[in-house]
Subunit: 408 residues, 2 copies
């Protein structure tokens, strides 16, 4: 269950959006959906694909590896980081999933030092099959281990596809009409997830349910459209920063995943909203000072978990002290949610725009739903801004310059 509550927006001051303004956008849904469908993007359809090939592979290699290492960057890494952090044990996962999303020599050297290559599976992910950082990593590690210890996830052509065929390396496909940053619910996210014990069927189910809402012309149930409309209206009134603040460590990297999706999809033609990741309660002790008393340039998007599925509490105690007494016998789940309510209350009192996505529990179904809700919102946001949310022309110059500097 995913709920979206944005009534605090109407209490914000300068900028404020009114309920009427927001509801007035509803007449755009049908047109925008039509435009999006015309772009032939598959992100909302792929959740209907049958994951049995992935599940079979995962079953087949189960128990063979202590470490799974993803070589990938950007959209090939951030969804996997989020899946791992949200749905597996933070201190002792088995197998471990390591995501090497940089060409930092120190990182690669230290990883090399610690791996048992016989018990390590490398998953090389690049939709184009030609991402230089990823290929550099692949070239390095392919000298260290057998080709049976590699799996590729890539598009229908390119270096990885060709090499996979030549060297008989198991290769999974990223559909052509799904961009890297929208690919978490394809093999890109599903294969690593299945290998570390995440229930990918439920992940897809959550995605399917949300895709139906995304495709509906009904404002009241279309969370993606609502969220896009709010972001657009606030941006038109001068809000250029979008802070996502989950109140659970498990969704910390969901905010990072959304950051890349928003930044790369919408940041073009001089337009864009800059994403910021925060974490409750942690950032109450730093960023919230800025959110409350700083400039009126940001919207805060809280993520709240209704049921943390934990009953641990702060023990009762003989200690009698004003700093302790109000905490005695309080469940941590109650404390963290009370702090969310308090921060939300304070931010609202300061007149700052804020809203909340609330999920009943942290699980596969809700995470799949959140991925889809935010991908859908990004597609709608492209329509509001009248830009192509699915390209990234602004990263080409840096790529060209890198090649030039290396060749000279």
């Amino acid at each position: 269950m995913i709920q979206f509550n944005y009534t605090n927006l109407f209490k914000a001051k300068d900028p404020q959006i009114t309920e009427e303004e927001l509801k007035d956008t509803a007449n755009l849904i049908a047109k925008y959906l039509e435009n999006i469908k015309a772009k032939d993007q598959g992100f909302y359809e792929i959740v209907n694909e049958d994951p049995s090939g992935i599940l079979e592979y995962a079953a087949q290699v189960k128990g063979q590896f202590d470490d799974i290492v993803i070589l990938g960057i950007g959209g090939s890494a951030l969804g996997n980081i989020c899946l791992r952090d949200t749905l597996t044990h933070p201190f002792k996962a088995s197998p471990r999933l390591r995501i090497i999303d940089n060409v930092d020599p120190y990182l690669i050297e230290k990883l090399d030092e610690t791996l048992n290559y016989d018990r390590t599976l490398f998953i090389v992910i690049s939709k184009s099959g030609g991402t230089p950082e990823t290929l550099a990593q692949y070239m390095y590690f392919k000298e260290k281990t057998a080709s049976e210890n590699f799996v590729f996830i890539t598009g229908k052509e390119g270096f990885l596809r060709e090499t996979g065929e030549k060297e008989n390396i198991k290769t999974f496909s990223v559909p052509e009409n799904v961009g890297g940053r929208f690919s978490v619910l394809t093999a890109v996210g599903l294969l690593p997830a299945a290998l570390i014990g995440i229930d990918i069927k439920n992940l897809l189910k959550g995605g399917q349910e949300m895709a139906r809402k995304f495709l509906s012309e009904e404002f009241n149930t279309n969370l993606s459209f609502q969220f896009a409309a709010i972001q657009y209206l606030l941006n038109q009134k001068g809000v250029n920063i979008n802070v996502m603040m989950p109140y659970t460590n498990r969704l910390k990297t969901f905010a990072d995943w959304y950051s890349q999706l928003l930044a790369e999809s919408i940041g073009k033609d001089g337009k864009g909203i800059t994403p910021v990741s925060a974490l409750g309660t942690t950032d109450q002790h730093s960023q919230v000072q800025l959110y409350n008393e700083g400039p009126r340039d940001k919207m805060i998007i809280f993520l709240e978990v209704e049921n943390h599925e934990s009953e641990i509490k702060i023990p009762d105690s003989d200690v009698n002290h004003e700093k302790i007494n109000f905490l005695k016998n309080v469940q941590f789940a109650h404390l963290i949610n009370a702090e969310k309510r308090a921060t939300e209350g304070a931010i609202t009192d300061y007149g700052k725009a804020n809203m909340t996505f609330k999920i009943d529990k942290v699980n596969e179904k809700n995470l799949g739903g959140l991925f889809m809700a935010f991908e859908g919102a990004t597609a709608f946001l492209g329509e509001f801004f009248q830009i192509d949310a699915f390209n990234q022309p602004g990263v080409e110059l840096g790529k060209k310059l890198t090649k030039k500097y290396l060749e000279n």
Copy 2:
């Protein structure tokens, strides 16, 4: 060695600052230093304190613990996260340092499941001694283990100080005139650092050298002042976002440390600059699209490492493919620095404000220097904005509401 190069700023378009404008600020240094000194803040003096008490304790407990767990939040956690990530092994550190900076029940429960309490040291950090999140954690874990397995780091009074005395718990002090977010070079950062094998004498030495520059009235050597002046001038021209982008995984959490310092110090009275953490090369595949082609609302602060102290390279290979050929025989250190240069070139070509802090190596001395440089810059920034950089009135309302919600 820390160098600061900001010449790209003068090539930026709309907003641009000129060399003359920047140099004109130099006449403010003396006055601003006088104001800062009058505030009796100790952050630039504490680096001269003798760390032998900390070193003795670290020597005394050496080998006794597999896990060191910090219970602390905000300024009591972020410096330690940075110290660990910058200066210890990313995959197999011994002892492990875990920093529990939230009251997430899931996080606490999972930690509880994995610890061997006989081999775990808890360091409870709160300057006020009364941070509710930290005390909640302390109350929970004190039921699990002996008081010998606790150390406190706190101010001269408050709950932790009293409890430390009552229960005979080893207690280190945070100087009264050093705020939490400026405390990384006090026992707050030094004690955990010493316990995980970081050379704290060199950390302090780097801090001392930079403190001398911070206290000098000479514009050309005062990096802190230069950086503050640039941030202020750009902000006056409409730049409200400050992106820090290290080109090394090791300094990723340095950007997070600076985020809290900047946000909480300067975000008040309707003023402030919103910090964003990025990572090169990783975020070239997402955020850089926005930085290049999005709105002219941000400055990019690169952190560059001259010598990565690694000679690993992409192997030569028989593979003949245009995607691979230009990478053959290239050192990863050369690749990551070429990508930095390329991204910097592209951002400059797009006319966006950017600058670079370059260090020769990632080591204690440079990290100590960076901490001090950015603390000093924050103090100067407070002067430019004419606000008190050392208080945080905007976090009080949330604290009050939390207490209210828990008591009702």
